[in-house]
């Protein structure tokens, strides 16, 4: 008798702690992050339902077992009931347990299915963004307005709050808008995941699938790549900046203007000077290529070859352009032709041929790249 009350008490305290921790979750990170969209909200509720069930089942089993252990321990003189498994209970419990468990199962599957339908429902999108994962950065294409954002890791020291969480270019989205994401990848699997605003779906090279969301709160949301993609898997953070619709439109206008200026610059059959190409080339190289070939051009042999003094970077221009534009199938070296415009490729290749003591000496102009494509 005495014991029973005690175990009830314990149940109450532990349960209480759990409920308390619910309200404090957001700050202390003991639970899923605070949802900021309709979808993640209902997923969060579902999670709370199953988590509570899991918790109660574990507590009930623990209490039951502890109770039995105390009551039927031999040192208290308990004697075994050798006939119990032959009694009524012994004969019918095989039915009883499954029925009860089935009941609990169905009460989980029901809400689960409902939320699934909600997650997979694709309302008409007001904004569609193609999200592409590559080793190791994210590219966002706003399909309705020719805007592209390439988002790379921003370096920090391990003791800084931004370490592995901040990027050079933010991904900007409007609040209260039906947004559709098209997920894909260029090389290996990745998964774009920002827990507060959208569920995760894998990015699969060669395939596209959709998720959608409607974000209800402005703010900055963090996430990171959630599917192992190799060396830089820990270095693919995501930062989403959610702003008002007006601000978003301004931002898009700005980006569109920038993009068309860059395109005009690249396609004008201008001949560039070495200094300009080297400067641009260095910047682009640092952004796109250092993850593998390193700042000093020495790579990480044997996996990522050195470009410093390499046969390709000092040999024929055509071969060099070919590798950069078309990539090397079956290796981490991607086809950059699709991601970089003529001017950018020209700049990078020029840089590689003249940096780190490489002395090819030649210049590559956008027009050369165009004809090499």
């Amino acid at each position: 008798m005495h014991l029973k009350r005690e175990s009830k008490l314990r149940l109450a305290t532990v349960g209480g702690l759990f409920v308390l921790s619910n309200s404090a979750v957001a700050e202390y990170g003991l639970n899923l992050v605070e949802p900021a969209s309709e979808i993640t909200r209902s997923v969060f509720d579902l999670h709370m339902l199953t988590a509570k069930l899991a918790f109660y089942i574990s507590v009930i089993i623990t209490v039951l077992v502890v109770y039995i252990l105390v009551k039927y321990r031999r040192s208290s003189g308990a004697e075994a009931d050798m006939q119990m498994h032959k009694g009524k209970f012994g004969v019918f419990s095989w039915l009883l347990v499954p029925i009860i468990v089935l009941g609990i199962d169905l009460s989980i599957a029901g809400p689960g299915t409902k939320t699934l339908h909600q997650v997979e429902r694709h309302v008409d999108a007001e904004l569609t963004v193609k999200v592409t994962g590559s080793q190791w950065k994210w590219t966002y294409d706003y399909l309705d307005n020719d805007v592209r954002v390439v988002s790379n890791l921003q370096e920090h020291e391990p003791n800084e709050p931004g370490y592995l969480r901040s990027v050079d270019k933010l991904f900007v989205l409007p609040v209260d808008t039906n947004i559709r994401f098209l997920h894909t990848a260029t090389d290996v699997l990745h998964a774009w995941w920002v827990p507060a605003i959208a569920i995760k779906k894998d990015s699969i090279p060669g395939y596209i699938h959709e998720t959608s969301t409607r974000i209800t709160k402005e703010g900055t949301y963090y996430g990171q790549c959630a599917e192992n993609c190799g060396t830089g898997h820990a270095y693919m953070p995501i930062v989403v900046q959610v702003v008002s619709k007006e601000k978003f439109n301004d931002w898009v206008a700005l980006k569109t203007a920038e993009a068309s200026a860059a395109a005009a610059e690249a396609s004008a059959d201008k001949v560039w000077s070495k200094e300009d190409l080297m400067a641009r080339g260095e910047e682009l190289y640092v952004k796109n290529c250092v993850a593998c070939h390193q700042v000093n051009g020495e790579g990480i042999p044997p996996v990522f070859p050195a470009l410093k003094g390499s046969a390709i970077a000092t040999g024929a221009v055509a071969d060099h352009l070919d590798v950069v534009i078309k990539g090397k199938a079956g290796t981490a070296m991607a086809a950059w032709g699709g991601q970089l415009n003529d001017l950018e490729v020209a700049a990078i290749v020029t840089y590689e041929r003249n940096a780190w003591g490489n002395d090819a000496g030649d210049l590559v102009q956008p027009a050369d790249v165009k004809s090499a494509r």
């Binding site: 098209l182 060669g206 395939y207 596209i208 699938h209 079956g330």
Partner: protein, 290 residues
């Protein structure tokens, strides 16, 4: 022959298992080196070891069997062993058939713009899903080269079907011969079966040659070529093994190893052969025909 009815035969220490493990290790180590640009001689060494092991181990088993060390219970063990081994083989092929169905009916649809991931078609301009898949999503650039045409079900494949089915019949005929002590029937049934097996292999080799030389159908021609060679190749490998086993059985038959009650080795190989037969029917249906 003395038969030991009441005690289960337990072999003494045997060196063959360790030799088998070592030989397999060397063979596979050799394959790793080979696919990474090395030469094949280590694999060869391993295979020689395997051959030595098979001769030795099976030789010992045959000897034990002939000297009557195996009682009925041991016989039952062998039967079960073979049956479960074939079961595991069934699942090996199940894997490849499963892949074929998945690729044909699910992922190809996505690439071609149907189903849950229909948007994938955005990435592959103008790609339309069709089976057999001749024009590839990427238009046949990069690593892959498109085939000129697909392998039809008529001609050689049909002939091969008939050959294999016939070989099943001749094998059963031979088995009846053994059961009823008809020497002519046992021997010629088995000889015919071995011959049919060899003819099948020759036809298939010719088919591959034709596919590579004239149809441009290779391992690199996208998933049609890949699944085609994977399924027919592994099947062909099993036929080759089966033929070899049948040949060994034929030699043993000629030596008079089998009585009309005791001929489990024959039966085991026959089961295996029928299994290979059934797999072929599946292949013919799903790889060549549909």
């Amino acid at each position: 022959m003395t038969s030991n009815e009441d005690s289960y035969y337990l072999p003494e220490l045997s060196k063959w298992p360790v030799i088998a493990a070592t030989a397999l290790f060397i063979t596979l180590l050799g394959v790793v080196l080979w696919v990474n640009g090395g030469s094949l001689w280590i694999t060869g060494l391993g295979l020689v070891g395997m051959g030595y092991m098979f001769f030795g181990w099976f030789g010992q088993v045959i000897e034990e069997s002939m000297s009557g060390k195996y009682n009925a219970q041991v016989d039952k063990t062998f039967r079960m062993g073979m049956a479960w081994f074939i079961t595991s083989e069934v699942f090996f092929f199940f894997c490849f058939f499963g892949c074929l169905f998945y690729l044909r009916t699910i992922s190809l649809g996505w690439l071609g713009g149907e189903g849950t991931m229909a948007r994938s078609n955005m990435l592959w301009d103008d790609f339309a899903a069709a089976w057999p898949l001749i024009s590839l999503p990427n238009g046949g650039g990069g690593l892959y080269a498109e085939a000129k045409e697909a392998m039809g079900p008529m001609g050689l494949p049909l002939a091969n079907t008939i050959i294999l089915l016939t070989s099943g019949v001749t094998l059963t005929w031979s088995h009846h011969g053994i059961k009823h002590g008809n020497r002519f029937q046992q021997v010629w049934g088995l000889v015919l079966t071995v011959l049919l097996g060899v003819i099948f292999l020759v036809c298939q080799a010719y088919e591959y040659y034709h596919a590579y030389q004239e149809m441009g159908l290779t391992l690199n021609s996208g998933i049609y070529g890949a699944t085609f060679y994977m399924l027919t190749g592994f099947h062909g490998f099993h036929v080759a093994m089966g033929t070899l086993m049948l040949f060994v059985i034929l030699v043993r038959l000629l030596k008079g190893h089998f009585s009309n009650e005791h001929h489990f080795a024959f039966e085991a190989v026959a089961w295996y052969w029928h299994f290979v037969d059934v797999v072929w029917l599946g292949l013919y249906l799903f790889v060549y025909w549909l």
